[in-house]
C-alpha cells in the first residue's frame, strides 16, 4: 500500500473546476448504452488528456473542465467540450444526456467498467456498485490550505440544500416517478462511507482522523469517502458532490458560479463559525431538498428560522451579489435568480416532458436532445 501523505496543495483563491458525469444512450430506444470505452478512445484523439474519464459503469462518461477563475471562461470551455463530445457521440450513433438519473434503465443490466478499482468496488459493494449508475456534477473550489478547506466545508454544509434544489434532475428511477426532485442522493446514502466530514477544525486534526480510519483498515485513500463535501488535498480544493448533473452545461456553469461567489463570501467575510447544529439538522434539511426541491423547508441552524429553500437561496443571492460582481459572475447569478423566480427547474422540465409525451423513452430522448443541443442538428 502506498503511503498517502495528504499534504494539502495550495491553490489560487476561488479558482474553480467542474466534473460532469453524463449518460451514454443508444439512439433506438434511448436506454443506456455500453460504449464508454469506444467513446473515450475517440475523444482522447481530440480533447486534452484528463478531459474525459471512465466512470463506474460502461454507460457513463466523466468530463472535466480545466481550472478557471471566471464564470464566462468556464461556460465557454464547457460548451466547447460539449460540442466535441456531442459530435463524436453522434458519429458513433450514440446520444449523451444530462440529468441525475436515467429514467428507465434497469441497474441489473449495467456492466462495470473494466478497471481494477471499479472491479474491486463491485466486489465490495455488490449491487450498490451497479445502482451507482447515477450522474452527478462535482464543483471544486481552490483554497490556500487545509485549515481553510475545513472551514469552507463546514460552512458550505449549511448550504447543501441549496445545491440539491438548484440541480435536482433525477425525478425518475428504474421506470418510475420517485416523487423526489433528486432521487439520486438516496442511492449515494446507501454507501457506508457516505455522509459528512468529521467535525474537526484543523488539517492536523483531520490527518489524525484519516490515519485512524486507515489504521482500522476502513479506507485506503480519500477516494473511499463518499462525503457530500470533501477536502481534496492533492488538488488543493474543496469538492462539492451533491449536485445532480444538470440537463445542460450552461446550467452546470451557473451552479459553479454560485459556489464560487458563495465561497468568496464565506472566506473573505467569515460570516459564521462552524457549528455542530448544522450537522444535527443536516439530514432533515437534505431530505427536504431531495424530496421537495425549491419548495422544501430549510431550518437554519444559526437562526432557527424556517424558510422555503427557494426564499433562502434568493436571499443568499442578494447577499453574495457583490462577491459575484467582483469575480465576474454577476450576470450568471442574475440568470440563476431569474430561473428560480420563474419556477423553472430541471426536475420540473423532465416531469413536464413525461406528461406531454407519455413515455419515458421520449423523456430520455428529449433529455439527450437538450444536452447535445445544436451540436446534434449541425453534423
Amino acid at each position: 500500500m502506498t503511503e498517502e501523505t495528504l499534504e494539502f496543495r495550495t491553490s489560487a483563491g476561488f479558482s474553480m473546476g467542474v466534473e460532469l458525469e453524463l449518460q451514454i444512450l443508444n439512439s433506438r430506444d434511448y436506454n443506456l448504452a455500453r460504449d464508454a470505452a469506444d467513446l473515450i478512445g475517440m475523444l482522447e484523439k481530440t480533447l486534452n488528456s484528463g478531459a474525459v474519464k471512465p466512470e463506474i459503469t460502461e454507460s457513463m462518461i466523466e468530463l472535466n473542465s480545466s481550472i478557471h477563475h471566471e464564470y464566462g471562461a468556464l461556460a465557454e470551455e464547457l460548451r466547447r467540450i460539449r460540442d466535441v463530445v456531442a459530435e463524436s457521440a453522434a458519429r458513433m450513433n450514440l446520444r449523451i444526456a444530462g440529468g441525475g438519473s436515467h429514467p428507465f434503465h434497469k441497474w441489473s443490466e449495467r456492466r462495470i467498467y473494466p478497471t481494477e478499482r471499479f472491479k474491486r468496488l463491485l466486489e465490495v459493494y455488490g449491487y450498490l456498485a451497479k445502482q451507482f449508475t447515477i450522474f452527478g456534477q462535482h464543483v471544486h473550489i481552490g483554497v490556500p490550505d487545509g485549515d481553510e478547506a475545513l472551514y469552507l466545508t463546514h460552512i458550505l454544509s449549511r448550504y447543501v440544500p441549496h445545491f440539491i434544489a438548484l440541480s435536482a434532475s433525477s425525478p425518475f428511477q428504474q421506470g418510475e416517478d420517485t416523487s423526489y426532485q433528486s432521487s439520486r442522493l438516496n442511492t449515494v446514502s446507501a454507501f457506508p462511507l457516505s455522509g459528512q466530514v468529521p467535525f474537526v477544525q484543523s488539517w492536523g486534526e483531520f490527518l489524525d482522523y484519516f490515519n485512524r480510519m486507515r489504521g482500522f483498515g476502513v479506507v485506503e485513500s480519500m477516494k473511499d469517502f463518499y462525503w457530500d463535501i470533501r477536502p481534496k488535498p492533492e488538488y488543493g480544493t474543496v469538492e462539492i458532490r451533491v449536485f445532480d448533473t444538470p440537463l445542460t452545461v450552461d446550467r452546470a456553469a451557473l451552479l459553479a458560479a454560485y459556489v464560487q461567489s458563495l465561497a468568496r463570501y464565506i472566506l473573505t467575510e467569515r460570516p459564521l463559525a462552524p457549528s455542530r447544529d448544522v450537522y444535527t439538522l443536516y439530514n432533515y434539511n437534505r431530505f427536504q431538498a431531495c424530496r421537495y426541491g425549491m419548495e422544501g423547508r430549510l431550518i437554519d441552524a444559526y437562526t432557527q428560522r424556517h424558510a422555503a429553500i427557494k426564499e433562502d437561496i434568493l436571499d443568499m443571492l442578494r447577499v453574495i451579489a457583490p462577491h459575484a460582481a467582483e469575480l465576474g459572475g454577476g450576470d450568471a447569478l442574475g440568470q440563476l435568480a431569474g430561473e428560480i423566480e420563474a419556477g423553472r427547474t430541471d426536475a420540473g422540465w423532465l416531469r413536464e416532458a413525461y406528461r406531454t409525451r407519455g413515455s419515458l423513452n421520449d423523456v430520455a430522448r428529449m433529455q439527450s436532445e437538450r444536452w447535445m443541443g445544436s451540436a446534434l442538428a449541425n453534423i
Partner: protein, 399 residues
C-alpha cells in the same frame, strides 16, 4: 370396423400444426445441446437438427413438408427484416461518412472478388455474377439472432447490423437487376426483361411504405402503450409478409423497407420501440430447422471446391472493404477485423433467391444451386460461430 373410425388412420396425414410443433421442439432440443454441451451458438443446433431430420439425414422432413413450413419461415424472415430495417439509421450514415464508405466498399469488393474468382475458375459470367450478387449479402437472421442471444450491444454489433441491412438491400437490387440478364438469356421478351425487376422493386417498396404509414397512424391513435404497439406491429408485419407473397413481391425488400421507412418517417416519435424477440423466437427456431432440412450434404461432394473459392473470395472482399476504413471510423483498433468476421454468415436469403430462380427457369436454378448452396451449407454452420466469436472478442456481450 366402421365403428372405430373415430380413431386416426396411419400413417398420420401431414398437419401444419403438428409439423410446427415438431420443428420447434426438435430445433429447440438441438439448440440447447449445442449451447450447453458444445458452447456453440444455438443456431448451429437448430440447423443441425434440420440437417438430421431433413433430406440429407433421416429424410423425415422432405421438400414437400419444407414447403408447407414456408409460411413459418416467411413470418420469421419478416420479423427479422423489419427489426433490421428499424436499425438501419440513415442519420448515422450521414454523420459517419466513413461507415457509409465502409458499406459501399465491402459490397463492391465482395461482389468483385467473388465474380472474378468464379470466372477465373471457369464459371460462366452470368452464373458468376448472380452468385456474386448473392455473396454480397450477410445473413440478417444469423447476425441478429446471435447478437440477441448474447445480448450484445456496442459499436461492432451496431455497425455489423447496419452493414448487414445495407448489403442485403444491395444484394437484392443486384440480383433483381441480373434477372433482366437471365430473362434475356432465356429469350424472354424485352417487356418482361424490364418490367419484372421494376415490378419487384417498386411493388415491394410501395408495400413497405403503405405498411409504415399505417403503423405510424395506428401508433399515434393508440398512444404510448408498448403492449398495444407490439400486437399492432406484429399484425402489420404478418399482413405485409402475406401480401408480399400473394402479390409475388419480395418479402425481403418489402419488410426491410417497412422497417427502414417506419424508422425514418416517424418524425414525431409516435411509434414505440418494441421487443419482437420473445414472440419471434419460436418462428426463428423453425426458420433454421427448415433451412437445415433443405440443405444437401451431397452437394458438398460436387460443389465443395467452388464453394471454398466463393467463401474465400467473399471473405477477402469484405475484409478489405471493412479494414480499409476501420481506422477512420470511430472504433477501437482491432474492431475492424472483428467487424469483418461478423459479416461471414450467408444463408436463408441465398436459398430463397436460388429457389426463386428455379421457379422461373429450372435449368438455370439447378446450375446456380450447385455453385451457391454448398457455400450456404458451410457458412450456415460456421457463420453463427464466427459472429459469436467476433461479438465476444469485441467485449460486447452481456457478462
Amino acid at each position: 370396423m366402421s365403428t372405430l373410425n373415430y380413431l386416426p388412420s396411419f400413417p398420420l396425414p401431414p398437419d401444419p400444426v403438428l409439423l410446427f410443433g415438431l420443428l420447434l421442439l426438435s430445433g429447440f432440443a438441438g439448440g440447447e445441446i449445442a449451447h450447453r454441451m458444445l458452447r456453440l451458438p444455438r443456431i448451429v443446433g437448430y440447423v443441425s437438427a434440420g440437417l438430421a431430420l431433413g433430406v440429407s439425414g433421416l429424410g423425415l422432413l422432405d421438400y414437400e413438408l419444407a414447403r408447407q413450413a414456408q409460411v413459418f419461415v416467411d413470418i420469421a424472415l419478416g420479423l427479422i427484416l423489419f427489426e433490421l430495417g428499424r436499425r438501419l439509421d440513415f442519420n448515422w450514415l450521414r454523420r459517419d461518412r466513413w461507415l457509409a464508405a465502409t458499406s459501399l466498399a465491402e459490397c463492391a469488393l465482395s461482389f468483385g472478388c467473388v465474380y472474378l474468382a468464379l470466372v477465373y475458375f471457369d464459371i460462366a459470367p452470368l452464373y458468376a455474377a448472380v452468385a456474386a450478387a448473392i455473396g454480397v449479402s450477410t445473413s440478417p437472421a444469423v447476425v441478429m439472432l446471435v447478437a440477441q442471444e448474447l445480448r450484445a450491444e456496442g459499436q461492432v454489433t451496431e455497425r455489423a447490423l447496419n452493414l448487414v441491412a445495407i448489403n442485403s438491400v444491395v444484394a437484392f437490387v443486384l440480383a433483381t437487376m441480373l434477372l433482366s440478364w437471365i430473362h434475356h438469356e432465356y429469350r424472354a421478351g424485352w417487356a418482361i426483361m424490364l418490367s419484372h425487376p421494376v415490378y419487384l422493386l417498386t411493388g415491394s417498396l410501395l408495400l413497405g411504405f403503405v405498411a409504415s404509414w399505417a403503423a405510424i397512424l395506428f401508433g399515434r391513435w393508440l398512444g404510448k402503450r408498448e403492449e398495444l404497439h407490439l400486437v399492432m406491429l406484429l399484425g402489420l408485419i404478418v399482413l405485409a409478409v402475406g401480401a408480399a407473397a400473394a402479390l409475388k413481391l419480395s418479402v425481403l425488400l418489402a419488410l426491410l423497407a417497412f422497417g427502414v421507412i417506419v424508422k425514418n418517417m416517424d418524425r414525431n416519435h409516435d411509434l414505440m420501440q418494441v421487443d419482437i424477440g420473445k414472440v419471434g423466437q419460436m418462428f426463428f427456431i423453425v426458420l433454421f430447422v427448415v433451412t437445415g432440412a433443405t440443405l444437401q450434404l451431397g452437394e458438398l461432394m460436387t460443389g465443395g471446391a467452388v464453394a471454398l473459392v466463393l467463401i474465400l473470395a467473399r471473405f477477402v472482399g469484405k475484409s478489405i472493404g471493412v479494414l480499409g476504413f476501420a481506422y477512420f471510423s470511430g472504433i477501437r483498433p482491432g474492431s475492424g477485423g472483428l467487424l469483418a468476421i461478423a459479416l461471414t454468415p450467408m444463408s436463408g436469403f441465398a436459398i430463397v433467391m436460388v429457389y426463386n430462380a428455379t421457379d422461373l427457369y429450372p435449368e438455370f436454378g439447378a446450375k446456380l444451386a450447385a455453385i451457391v448452396l454448398s457455400a450456404v451449407l458451410i457458412l450456415e454452420l460456421i457463420g453463427p460461430i464466427a459472429v459469436q466469436f467476433a461479438l465476444k472478442k469485441a467485449g460486447e456481450t452481456a457478462a
